[in-house]
């Protein structure tokens, strides 16, 4: 008995050591970024590295804010994110419902084709997308950051998978009661799928927040730039002012961390629910 207990505890020690090592690897860049944001120009370049800034000064943040119009960038990032994420969530919900619960000719073929499109990397369609936004005259507007991202096959695929797991008898029960597809979708399916939905919305939000290449191509006006471009500005305009870049990065990352903390419970629910199905 005591031997078995000992073995378990020893195993646990290893598991925890392993998890701690993983956590350190994940957290270290954030630690370096945040502490770096408070270091001076000299401190950040020091060798051997300085683990903790000697004095905490907020000057870096102030300077960073002065060097690039972060408030404007922030506003643009938020507008692009909210716009594309909410529209994408809407189309994803509708498409998932159609592919999961409705019957129409060619359903499986169409879905197969759409899935096939996932194999084409985003970089390959950048040029055609670019031409499209010029043709529909949204080049260099905020819409250029929203319209191309209003649908996602990947998220549709994930949500369809969840919708598939909702028994058809629920649909039939609602139909017998006179429930329309529309009402059924929003009153029954979407609330049940909420954990999955929160997950894909969050993933989408992070992707939108961090996207760099497309916003850089699609808008040229400084007033329309998004936050990641602000960092790029530091490289070219600010030279090797690493401590300023760290401060700017911290500013950019904080909203996502807050968003994640709010949605964390929902995501964990989603994962746990998937495991307990049945």
């Amino acid at each position: 008995m005591s031997k078995a207990l000992k073995e378990i505890t020893l195993g646990r020690v290893f598991i925890y050591l392993f998890l701690i090592a993983g956590a350190v690897i994940m957290i270290f860049p954030f630690y370096w970024m945040i502490t770096g944001a408070f270091k001076s120009y000299v401190e950040i370049g020091q060798y051997p590295p300085l683990w903790w800034p000697t004095t905490f000064n907020f000057d870096n943040f102030v300077i960073a804010f002065e060097m690039a119009p972060f408030l404007t960038y922030f506003r643009n990032s938020v507008v692009a994110m909210v716009g594309s994420v909410s529209l994408c969530a809407f189309t994803t919900i509708l498409a998932s419902f159609a592919f999961s619960k409705l019957n129409f000719p060619g359903k499986h073929v169409i879905f197969g084709l759409l899935l096939g499109l996932m194999m084409i990397p985003f970089e390959m369609i950048i040029i055609t997308n670019f031409r499209t936004i010029i043709d529909i005259k949204i080049y260099n507007t905020i819409f250029a950051l929203i319209i191309p991202f209003t649908s996602s096959i990947f998220y549709t695929y994930i949500l369809k998978g969840f919708f598939d797991s909702i028994p058809d008898s629920l649909y039939q029960a609602a139909r017998v009661d006179g429930c329309s597809n529309w009402k059924y979708l929003w009153r029954v399916m979407v609330p049940i799928a909420r954990p999955s939905l929160v997950t894909i919305i969050l993933l989408n939000a992070i992707a939108s927040w961090n996207s760099f290449m497309w916003p850089m191509l699609a808008v040229v006006e400084r007033d329309l730039r998004t936050l990641p471009f602000g960092l790029y500005a530091f490289v070219s305009e600010g030279g090797a002012e690493t401590q300023l870049m760290m401060a700017a990065s911290t500013i950019i990352v904080v909203p996502m961390i807050i968003l994640f903390l709010f949605a964390r419970k929902q995501i964990v629910n989603g994962v746990a629910r998937g495991g307990l199905k049945g």
Partner: protein, 352 residues
């Protein structure tokens, strides 16, 4: 409400699930749709509800032809095998949902939902989510939700199959009580003969998409229309033997002669199935129809289950516990009138 089904057929292409089905279900009755798995009883139920369109045939609710009417306009309440409760809604919201769809005002539909909850005895669970309920409670909620619209007919698909044995008996009595209180015409699907026998007014017995017999439970047991009905009902299963009519007797395979009043009217040389319920067979008493050999006995407590060899067949019979027979003992076998049937061996039709 009376339901009339005329020549109803459902052809799935690969198979015909329901074949030329005719039946009349009287208003206010509790009807069991009984049959083995895959006999088309759920298909039948889904066609009555309108979820599944029929291939040919007509369904009438009273005088209205509802064959082409969509489910929501038929006024049916449906209870699913897995209850199909909405997991994110409370019991109250679940029960009230059909009225919510009809845009009934919140106060009104909640009052009605509470009334329904009281009827099915879940009025103390209104704020719970389905996950927090037992199977029987979920079933009650599902019934309440089906009844809240005052449906013309209540349909239950295998309502008891997901419950454990004790709860099953309790719930079937509950279904009977609720049906009696509301007087709604109710059809429930089951493959459990005991369930069907115990609570229904009439049983509709199906096999391979064909209607076998519609009768009151006792009538179905005592007067089966064909060999399948006799086989399907009863526990232990009916003793089934095959033989040929000869000189007004039935000669079973293996040469055992069975004297039977009913056999006297049957044509000579006719191949027949002689089916006998275990309780219709008496051993070593005044009533004598045949002679056999005891091959095995099992003590059951209040009686003994004996296997008696008649020709090539071993038939089950109950004998009083005070009598004892040894293995291999020759005995006389008597057949009571009730519980002994002769069927055409080829068509399965009842001959006597």
């Amino acid at each position: 409400m009376k339901i009339t089904i005329e020549h109803l057929t459902k052809d799935f292409g690969s198979m015909i699930a329901v074949n030329d089905f005719n039946a009349v279900i009287e208003s206010g009755e509790l009807i069991a749709l009984l049959g083995p798995s895959g006999c088309g009883k759920s298909t039948m139920l889904n066609m009555i509800s309108g979820i599944l369109p029929s291939t040919t045939g007509k369904i009438y609710f009273d005088e209205d032809d509802v064959t082409e009417v969509t489910p929501e306009k038929r006024g049916v309440g449906l209870v699913f095998q897995n209850y199909a409760l909405y997991p994110h809604m409370t019991v109250l919201e679940n029960i009230a949902f059909p009225l919510e769809i009809k845009k009934v005002k919140k106060a009104e539909r909640e009052a009605k939902a509470k009334e329904m909850a009281k009827l099915v005895h879940v009025d103390m669970l209104l704020d719970r989510k389905p996950k927090q309920l037992s199977g029987g409670q979920q079933q009650r909620v599902a019934i309440a939700r089906a009844l809240i619209k005052n449906p013309r007919v209540l349909l239950l698909d295998e309502p008891l199959s997901n419950l454990d044995a004790r709860l099953r008996i309790e719930m079937r009595e509950e279904i009977r009580r609720i049906q009696q209180e509301t007087q709604v015409t109710t059809i429930f699907v089951t493959h459990d003969q005991e369930e069907a026998m115990s609570i229904s007014d009439h049983i509709v017995l199906m096999k391979d998409g064909f209607l076998q017999q519609v009768a009151r439970p006792q009538e179905l047991y005592d007067e089966p229309a064909n060999c399948f009905v006799a086989d399907f009902l009863g526990n232990p299963p009916i003793n089934k033997t095959f033989g040929v009519v000869s000189n007004g007797k039935i000669v079973l395979d293996g040469g055992c002669e069975v004297e039977l009043e009913a056999a006297k009217n049957l044509p000579e040389g006719k191949k027949v199935t002689l089916s006998m319920r275990a309780e219709a067979i008496v051993v070593d008493e005044d009533l004598v129809n045949a002679e056999g050999t005891v091959v095995e006995t099992y003590v059951m407590g209040k009686e003994v289950l004996a296997y008696v060899e008649l020709g090539d067949y071993k038939v089950r019979a109950y004998i009083p516990a005070e009598k004892s027979f040894g293995k291999g003992q020759k005995v006389t076998v008597g057949l009571k009138k009730r519980g002994v049937f002769v069927f055409d061996a080829e068509t399965g039709e009842r001959l006597a």
